[in-house]
């Protein structure tokens, strides 16, 4: 039972990180209907932004304090928001009217570009760097169960951000414009919605979420390197599809399911090597029975 609860805690913490990254995937998909493959690299850039910012912020607010952690996370998220908007402006906007597959390949190109540029010795270099301790970390032990304070922070933060995203999309004017662009870009433009601005805004939010997810992922990971985004990015992509891509609560649910699966199978002796395979197999099974994801709406196709 203890083992079960312990894995549950670990799984929730990992799942919350996947959920954060998946939220970014899903928001971009919701508006543009395409998978932003460069998302996993924005996540990596967020981690590197924090890596370089932490020593700069430390003299002002103190190393490993809560204010400095907040400053580093907010600044990294802002940097990634700008990067996300730039990518959209340079690489995706000229292809807006083209088939989605074209944009997909461009996104893969952007992803490869960021990864290989990052690996160049004059940029980040291919070697693994150890990530600075941003948050003061304490172990909380509750009746034989261990829980790191970071885990609680990430689960809480994900919940807050999910509600915030839901609020933005459902209850604000810009959110209404986002839904309008998602529904029909042309009609939205005719109604006076500046579609380009809305899409830029969506990329900014999605990339900021990726940066936050990347920073929390790096806190658990042994170190950061330019290819670090690929694995969590892939998991988050699966999580977004699993939950029903384009659906915000779906992304959070998918992230949690994936995080739990990974820790439970990773913790079982004999199965740990197969944990990725099992996660994918379950994903496939779920998609077979619910082809639009757990919370996605099935759309009937008309001729």
């Amino acid at each position: 039972m203890d083992w079960f609860l312990q894995q549950l805690i670990n799984g929730l913490a990992l799942g919350a990180i996947y959920a954060l990254i998946a939220l970014g995937y899903t928001m971009v998909y919701g508006v543009l209907r395409f998978i932003n493959f460069a998302h996993s690299d924005v996540l990596m850039l967020g981690a590197f932004a924090a890596y370089y910012l932490a020593p700069l912020v430390a003299p002002l607010l103190g190393a490993t304090t809560i204010p400095s952690a907040i400053a580093v996370i907010v600044l990294s998220a802002a940097i990634c928001a700008v990067i996300g908007m730039t990518i959209e402006y340079l690489a995706y906007r000229p292809l807006r009217k083209r088939p989605r597959l074209t944009v997909l390949i461009t996104a893969i190109g952007v992803s490869l570009f960021i990864e290989y540029t990052g690996q160049h010795e004059k940029v980040f270099g291919a070697a693994t760097k150890s990530f600075p301790t941003l948050l003061p970390k304490t172990e909380i032990i509750l009746g034989g169960l261990r829980c790191s304070s970071n885990d609680l922070v990430v689960v809480g933060l994900t919940a807050v951000l999910l509600v915030a995203m839901w609020f933005i999309v459902q209850r604000t004017k810009i959110g209404m414009a986002m839904r309008a662009v998602s529904f029909n870009e042309q009609a939205a433009s005719l109604m006076g919605v500046n579609a380009n601005a809305i899409i830029s805004f969506t990329f900014a939010i999605g990339s900021a979420l990726a940066a936050i997810g990347g920073i929390f992922y790096s806190m658990r990971a042994p170190g950061i390197e330019p290819l670090m985004g690929v694995q969590p990015g892939l998991r988050a992509f699966i999580a977004a599809v699993l939950g029903g891509i384009g659906n915000l609560p779906g992304a959070a649910l998918g992230g949690l399911v994936l995080g739990l699966l990974e820790t439970f199978f990773g913790g079982m002796p004999g199965l740990s090597n197969y944990r990725d395979a099992i996660a994918f197999a379950l994903l496939i099974l779920i998609l077979l029975f619910r082809p639009a994801g757990l919370l996605g709406k099935v759309q009937t196709e008309k001729v």
């Binding site: 998978i35 292809l95 190109g109 490869l112 001729v303």
Partner: protein, 307 residues
């Protein structure tokens, strides 16, 4: 039309095998690249059947290649030492066939879920299958686990690679241009309308996956016996993406274009070796640039679907 294609096949095979006999005098480095090109043509043309002609979106082609490569390599590793040298070509042919058939079975396993899924969801399922296949090889002791298989006999020659590339092109082109094969293009254009015309989209999709996977498996076998080592890391989803890029740059569903794209994208990284540290950066910028300027693919001449 049919006669022209048969002639093409015969000429291509004769030229490939003929060149193979004199290949010993070529520079080994260039010869290696030429074999890589042949293997990539098989991969790209077979994926084109699934992604281009039939309009499905598979991101798991490297998985089929891995299945073919591992089974073919295991076959020659086990039975190779027991046979006399004269039997080696037959052994190799058997190994490639085995690899192709097992990969085709894997293609069947992936094709069946594709009945219900489309677009991004199909992409993620095929990607998932590719990763599952890789994880299985990575953990299976029989297939060398994380280190993979080593000491595979170098049986792939220029002749094998290019003759099989010619066969792949021939089969895919004839299939798509046949009365039966028009169904693939119909499914690509509009599944529901195709269904209303009496074409069974399910059957065509599964057929495309099985045939595409079969040739990917053969390419995997050739690859294994070319590189002499197989490691599971070589078949990750980046490899699948590389093949997808070839198909898209060549122009989806245009066999000739896809062949050219496979040639260019195999040679390009080698040409850029001089600027090794910037090589992959330039490669990725080229992909972005080409997509921005020629999104319909590099090669768009000729009738769509024609060989």
């Amino acid at each position: 039309m049919r006669g022209r294609e048969k002639l093409f096949l015969l000429i291509a095979i004769v030229v490939a095998i003929g060149l193979s006999y004199v290949s010993a005098s070529f520079n080994r480095y260039y010869l290696g690249i030429a074999i890589d090109v042949g293997i990539n043509i098989i991969l790209a043309v077979s994926l084109n059947l699934i992604n281009g002609h039939t309009g499905q979106f598979s991101l798991g082609h490297a998985g089929f290649m891995a299945v073919g490569g591992y089974f073919a390599a295991k076959f020659t590793l086990v039975y190779g030492p027991t046979l006399p040298p004269a039997a080696q070509p037959f052994l190799f042919a058997g190994a490639l066939l085995l690899g192709g058939i097992v990969a085709a079975l894997a293609g069947l396993a992936v094709g069946v879920p594709s009945l219900r899924l489309k677009g991004d969801y199909l992409a993620i399922v095929t990607l998932g299958f590719g990763e599952i296949i890789r994880v299985i090889f990575q953990t299976s002791e029989t297939f060398g686990a994380a280190t993979g298989l080593t000491g595979i006999a170098k049986l792939t020659t220029f002749g094998w690679a290019w003759a099989l590339a010619a066969v792949t092109v021939y089969v895919v082109a004839c299939l798509v241009n046949s009365t039966y094969g028009r169904g693939f293009i119909a499914v690509h254009d509009d599944e529901i309308a195709a269904g209303a015309m009496g074409i069974n989209p399910v059957r065509y999709k599964v057929t495309a996956f099985v045939i595409g996977a079969f040739f990917a498996g053969i390419a995997g076998g050739l690859y294994a016996h070319h590189k002499a080592v197989l490691s599971p890391g070589g078949f990750d989803f980046i490899k699948s993406i590389e093949i997808v890029v070839m198909v898209i740059l060549g122009g989806m569903g245009r066999t000739v274009g896809v062949i050219f794209a496979a040639i260019i994208l195999t040679i390009l990284p080698e040409l850029l070796r001089g600027v090794a540290e910037y090589r992959m950066i330039i490669y990725s910028l080229l992909i972005i640039g080409l997509m921005l300027t020629r999104p319909q693919g590099l090669f768009t001449w000729g009738k769509k679907g024609a060989a």
